[in-house]
């Protein structure tokens, strides 16, 4: 069941990344939703879960993009594993903690990705350092927002259920 949810999350992140984010990227917001999904799943499921979700998400992203297959996969595998291992050791339950993890994970991911491409090609770097930092901040904002929404969702559902039960008790149903 959990695997299905993770798969669904990755698929949703990929669809949004390819259909919604290009419009945002045109406005100067270069978010990597797949990376955000990998980090948030790795925080909740540990190093092995992070490793697998990073591998699958990165390879799918590579297959859909114009680059070498495996570069994004390797970068996201390492990030997923590292974030999972970190989340087991430290308490990262609050949404702003998770936003910080997304920020640092994005910087590490950009380093791996750009570094690997620099090794494979002699045509200069794939992006500027400023671009990497902007992307990390954008990812952190989106990651923090998603973490906050996911954290608030169960409480909101409980409140709604209680309100409905109270109304049923008062007016019958």
């Amino acid at each position: 069941m959990k695997t299905a949810w993770v798969g669904l999350t990755l698929a949703l992140a990929l669809v949004l990344q390819t259909t919604v984010v290009p419009g945002l990227a045109g406005a100067g917001v270069p978010v990597d939703l797949v990376l955000v999904a990998v980090v948030l799943v790795a925080i909740s499921s540990g190093s092995v879960g992070g490793l697998w979700v990073g591998t699958v998400g990165g390879l799918l992203q590579d297959a859909l993009s114009g680059g070498v297959i495996g570069v994004g996969g390797l970068a996201k595998t390492l990030v997923g594993y590292a974030v999972g291992a970190f989340a087991v050791q430290f308490n990262v339950s609050r949404s702003w903690h998770q936003a910080l993890v997304v920020l640092f994970a994005s910087l590490v991911h950009a380093g791996c990705f750009v570094g690997l491409y620099s090794l494979l090609s002699d045509d200069g770097t794939i992006t500027s350092y400023g671009g990497g930092v902007t992307q990390a901040v954008a990812n952190a904002v989106v990651g923090g927002g998603v973490a906050m929404a996911l954290g608030a969702a169960p409480a909101a559902l409980t409140r709604r259920r209680l309100r409905r039960r109270r109304l049923t008790r008062r007016f019958g149903g």
């Binding site: 390819t18 990227a25 993009s65 114009g66 996969g73 494979l120």
Partner: protein
């Protein structure tokens, strides 16, 4: 141990691609084929919502816009007549020189259904594939100018297009005014193009129009690329030239793909 195995797997995967000549990657083909259908559905759904908004809700202040547009159309019609007269004169001069522009291209229109899956590359997915005659390296253009080329082997109903602003994209070009040849390359960071291999003895000015030269065998000759935005003396024998592309790559919706067969509608480079 597991991490090591997965990392090794990735390294093997990458090295296999780097060392062999480029061909169809099974993994890429299957993923692209399946995912392009999902993208097509999502693009249709979002397009429907946008259409509903544009067609009904967003019709405020249309009358004023209409009046302004009618005025623009009148001016453009006048300019079209002038251009037609010039084109007619050029044709008669060409006839005199026995030089005929006989290159006519077939095109199919396509809709952009998705962007790139990573923020590092500039590719888009279009809703036309091998069924419509789209092939690897087919040129993709728009009324504003050159958009890019079809990357790798397309699927039956979708194709991946590398935009001209992608870091690894390039095209053979000419400065229209002086016919000086060079190459434009993409630059992801700034959204501009770098024009290279233009000798610093050649005459290049800011505002010069840049068109395709046709020497790369991908882009037909004469299509507009952009205009020179910046000219600086480079470190070696060449100018360091920045070209601002005509096409707004972040707002692409509909494009034309140049295809080999003559069944589709036709358009001529630089024609009327």
């Amino acid at each position: 141990m597991l991490l090591l195995a997965v990392v090794l797997g990735h390294i093997v995967l990458i090295s296999l691609q780097v060392n062999t000549p480029s061909g169809v990657r099974v993994f890429e083909g299957v993923t692209f084929g399946l995912f392009s259908e999902v993208q097509r559905g999502v693009a249709r759904a979002t397009g429907g919502v946008t259409h509903l908004w544009d067609g009904y809700v967003g019709l405020v202040s249309v009358e004023a816009e209409n009046t302004e547009l009618r005025r623009d159309v009148a001016q453009l019609q006048l300019r079209l007549q002038q251009e037609r007269a010039i084109a007619q004169r050029v044709r008669s001069l060409e006839d005199l020189l026995e030089f005929r522009s006989d290159v006519v291209y077939s095109t199919v229109s396509a809709r952009v259904i998705a962007g790139d899956a990573t923020p590092y590359f500039r590719t888009v997915t279009i809703d036309r594939g091998t069924r419509d005659g789209v092939r690897r390296d087919s040129a993709v253009v728009s009324p504003e100018g050159v958009v890019g080329r079809v990357l790798s082997d397309p699927g039956p109903r979708a194709a991946k297009v590398q935009l001209l602003v992608d870091r690894s994209a390039a095209a053979g070009v000419l400065i229209e005014r002086t016919r000086v040849a060079g190459t434009v390359k993409g630059d992801v960071a700034e959204g501009l193009l770098r024009m290279e291999y233009v000798s610093n003895l050649d005459d290049v000015r800011v505002g010069d129009r840049v068109v395709t030269s046709g020497v790369d065998g991908i882009y037909p000759k004469g299509f507009e690329v952009g205009e020179v935005d910046e000219v600086e003396r480079g470190s070696g024998l060449y100018w360091a030239i920045r070209v601002r592309p005509n096409v707004a790559f972040s707002d692409l919706e509909d494009v034309l793909v140049v295809v080999p067969d003559a069944t589709a509608s036709t358009t001529a480079a630089g024609g009327e």
